[in-house]
């Protein structure tokens, strides 16, 4: 006996507002937002979550998530999140930060949030550039990459090598879940979502600091089409920023999501 039903394979997450984002077409900030919203939906955390927006292209993140949000000073999101989490330990607190925000001006705050084992989740968007201010060099900018502040291409002699935050933060005892994922195609996006899920699970279980570094695109400042930008992530960024699990608290390993 046979019957057909219509199922919805995918729809816009509930934790999203119905606002058109200001991101450039094809910018994977949107993808990252969506994954976070989906995870929060799945875990049913929307009403208890407090997001901390950075200064960067995602400065207006609070307009797109249907939940309580604050807007931090440039680089200080982890400090602000700490201030919140310590007085509201029962709430879920996450920061969303770019690479200039987290790896440059915010280096001390992210390091010490991890060192304290602050029980927060950090979504780290590594797009190898300063988007909002128009394409200056980030600590994550690839060697030789031309930016508006490295017009001849990043010179290792003068500016050093691209900084690998996942590797560095995994050195810190306090961290509970530190991984790097990429957003350059559907398969990797699915893996990225799993990681974000685990990061929030880590927080819920009080396992300490969790961060998901997401290799992301900036078609506008890379001066590429959306698809070219994703290809660049896959072909050029992944080799410099190896994907993988850098620190996983044993309590999470069993977990299937």
């Amino acid at each position: 006996m046979v019957s057909t039903t219509t199922e919805i394979v995918y729809q816009r997450p509930e934790s999203f507002t119905d606002v058109h984002t200001h991101y450039c077409p094809g910018c994977t900030h949107g993808t990252a937002h969506r994954l976070v919203a989906e995870v929060i939906d799945e875990m049913n955390l929307r009403e208890e979550t407090i997001g901390v927006a950075p200064v960067g292209c995602s400065v207006f993140a609070y307009n797109y998530f249907q939940m309580d949000f604050v807007e931090a000073a440039h680089g200080r999101a982890p400090a602000m999140a700490t201030g919140i989490k310590r007085v509201l330990p029962e709430n879920t607190v996450f920061t969303y930060q770019g690479d200039g925000d987290l790896a440059s001006i915010g280096m001390a705050e992210i390091m010490h949030a991890a060192i304290r084992g602050e029980n927060i989740t950090v979504i780290f968007i590594n797009n190898a550039i300063y988007g909002m201010t128009g394409g200056q060099m980030a600590p994550t900018t690839l060697t030789g990459m031309k930016t508006t502040s490295s017009p001849l291409g990043r010179d290792v002699e003068m500016t050093g090598n691209p900084v690998q935050m996942a590797e560095i933060l995994s050195q810190v005892k306090g961290s509970g879940y530190i991984v790097r994922r990429s957003l350059h195609d559907a398969a990797h996006i699915r893996k990225a979502k799993k990681a974000i899920r685990l990061a929030f699970e880590a927080q819920n279980r009080g396992l300490g600091f969790s961060m998901v570094e997401l290799l992301s695109s900036c078609p506008t400042n890379w001066k590429m089409s959306a698809q070219e930008a994703l290809d660049f992530v896959g072909e050029k960024m992944v080799p410099v920023f190896p994907l993988g699990d850098y620190k996983v608290n044993p309590a999470l390993e069993k977990l299937r999501v």
């Binding site: 200001h22 450039c24 077409p25 909002m132 506008t220």
Partner: protein, 187 residues
């Protein structure tokens, strides 16, 4: 000539800022005082971009104006925004390729010009901005066509030198279109 204020407004990517700079360079090369000031910041991304150019024989005070004497509107939002604030006797030139309505004000000079289409006839759709400039200097002859072409030639970035002839052609086509189509103020 006393102070003249020009606003060039359109979508990002329509070359409004460069068009304004062409006017500014021409003013400079011909001994006028001039200021050029863009809109800047997030609204640039995707959204609209405009600049204000002021040309004068006197030192210029405010680089910004509330009531622009001349407006080059390269899209509909720009017409909607500026038509109402222009002073009586102002000149509004609108890009009919993207502006699908008439100009209502009767106490200003106005011209609808299909800048994109004209540019495409030259084979370079991005040159709609030059077409608009061409039309403008016909209707409000701050400078001659030749003066404008001279300045364009001497200030266009190296990498675009090769497109100079096309730019000239765009200016001329705009100028001609205005010559033929423009009938002075209606009232």
């Amino acid at each position: 000539m006393e102070e003249t204020s020009i606003i060039i407004s359109g979508f990002g990517g329509q070359g409004t800022l460069f068009a304004g700079q062409v006017l500014a360079y021409t003013a400079l090369d011909n001994g006028f005082e001039v200021t050029w000031i863009p809109s800047y910041g997030p609204e640039m991304r995707g959204g609209t971009a405009h600049c204000t150019v002021i040309v004068s024989e006197e030192p210029i005070g405010s680089p910004l104006v509330r009531h622009p004497d001349i407006v080059l509107a390269m899209n509909l939002p720009s017409v909607d925004k500026y038509e109402s604030v222009m002073p009586e006797g102002g000149a509004l030139i609108a890009n009919s390729s993207l502006v699908n309505r008439e100009i209502e004000r009767e106490n200003i000079d106005s011209l609808l010009i299909p800048a994109n289409e004209i540019a495409e006839t030259i084979g370079m759709s991005r040159l709609g901005n030059m077409v608009m400039i061409g039309a403008m200097i016909k209707i409000r002859p701050l400078f001659s066509l030749e003066m404008t072409q001279e300045s364009l030639k001497s200030h266009i970035p190296e990498r675009h030198q090769k497109t100079l002839p096309l730019n000239f052609e765009a200016l001329e086509k705009g100028y001609k279109f205005a010559e033929e189509e423009f009938s002075a103020i209606k009232v």
